[in-house]
Amino acid sequence: MSFYKVLNKQVFSSGEYSIVPVRMADRYVIMQWRNEQIDILRQKEHLTKEKQDLYFKTVITKLFVKKNPEQLIFSFLHKGKLVGYGGLVHIDWNSKHAEISFLLSSNLNYKEYYLNSFKEFLKMIVNVAENASLFKVYTFGYDIMDYRFRPLYSNGFHLEAYLHEHVLLNSEKKAVRIYSKLLNND
């Protein structure tokens, strides 16, 4: 297993769920999910195996050894099986905050599964941020399905910004919400 030098713990668990530093073996499945869900991601073009290999080789593997990595990406497991991935991105080590990213397997991305799995993922990723001595985490969400924000509220996040007509989704302008949580690191 790869491990992040910046963290003193690598595996985080909550109930039946766990996250582990992103595994090389998961890269093509992740690529497939990203391509299938490109509409809701800030990704402009479809990924190919070559591009994904290059990304893992030149970006991801270097994150493990950095003192201040820009991202901490994890494979997300349910009962030991890969069901998604996500992590902390755009880490600002000066201001000690990071954005949370999360993507579920395309065929598990339905309401009930999403609500429970995202809730557990948030608990674990907040622990990662605390382990990395960050002070704040936040996440962006397109204002499309209200239920998608519920796990944020139940995990102590609150709405910090509502950006009107900020993105174009399926030919329609949509708002973006930013939720954040201040952590207890001193």
Partner: protein, 175 residues
């Protein structure tokens, strides 16, 4: 009089000013940027790269008292992260030369950016991130009808002030 013009990557005076501004700790702290010490060549490359980036409009702010007076290069303004799908862009602005404060240079520059370049690029929404302690900028953006869309608590750590500051997200629609 204020003109927004292209910054010349062959003009050593302009490049030197940018070099100094980019390493100025107070200026950088105000706009939440990390100060960097660039060489002359690196500054030249920076200007060239950003001037040709299709996702932004980078302009120098040039001032002269009267029509025949010499032109003074005193700041930088730009549209960044232009999103041609959603028709949005972030505004970045700083006045590096503070000797001419009080002449509404920032306001006139921002007004021109909106009326000329934002229109030209078909931008419908402009947005900006401003430190809550930066009263001058907040006042400037409010005076041109930017309103608050978000309040990011403890979102910027100032190495100079040794404290966390809140960040306000401002925006305005063109139509």
């Amino acid at each position: 009089m204020i003109d927004l013009l292209n910054i010349s990557h062959d003009n050593s005076d302009q490049l030197e000013k940018i070099m100094n501004w980019k390493s100025n700790e107070i200026l950088c702290d105000n706009i939440m940027a990390e100060p960097v010490s660039l060489t002359f060549q690196e500054t030249k490359d920076w200007v060239q790269k950003n001037s040709t980036d299709k996702n932004q409009e980078l302009k120098g702010i040039f001032y002269r008292e009267k029509a025949n007076d010499p032109v003074i290069f005193l700041g930088v303004i730009r549209l960044m992260f232009i999103d041609d799908n959603a028709n949005t862009a972030e505004v970045g602005l700083y006045i590096g030369d503070s000797s001419l404060r009080g002449k509404k240079i920032g306001k006139n520059a921002l007004k021109q950016l909106i009326e000329v370049y934002a229109k030209e690029r078909n931008i419908n929404k402009l947005h900006a991130r401003i430190r809550v302690s930066n009263n001058v900028s907040l006042k400037l953006f409010r005076s041109l009808n930017f309103t608050q869309e978000g309040f990011l608590k403890n979102h910027y750590y100032s190495k100079l002030d040794k404290t966390f500051d809140d960040v306000i997200l401002m925006a305005r629609f063109m139509s």
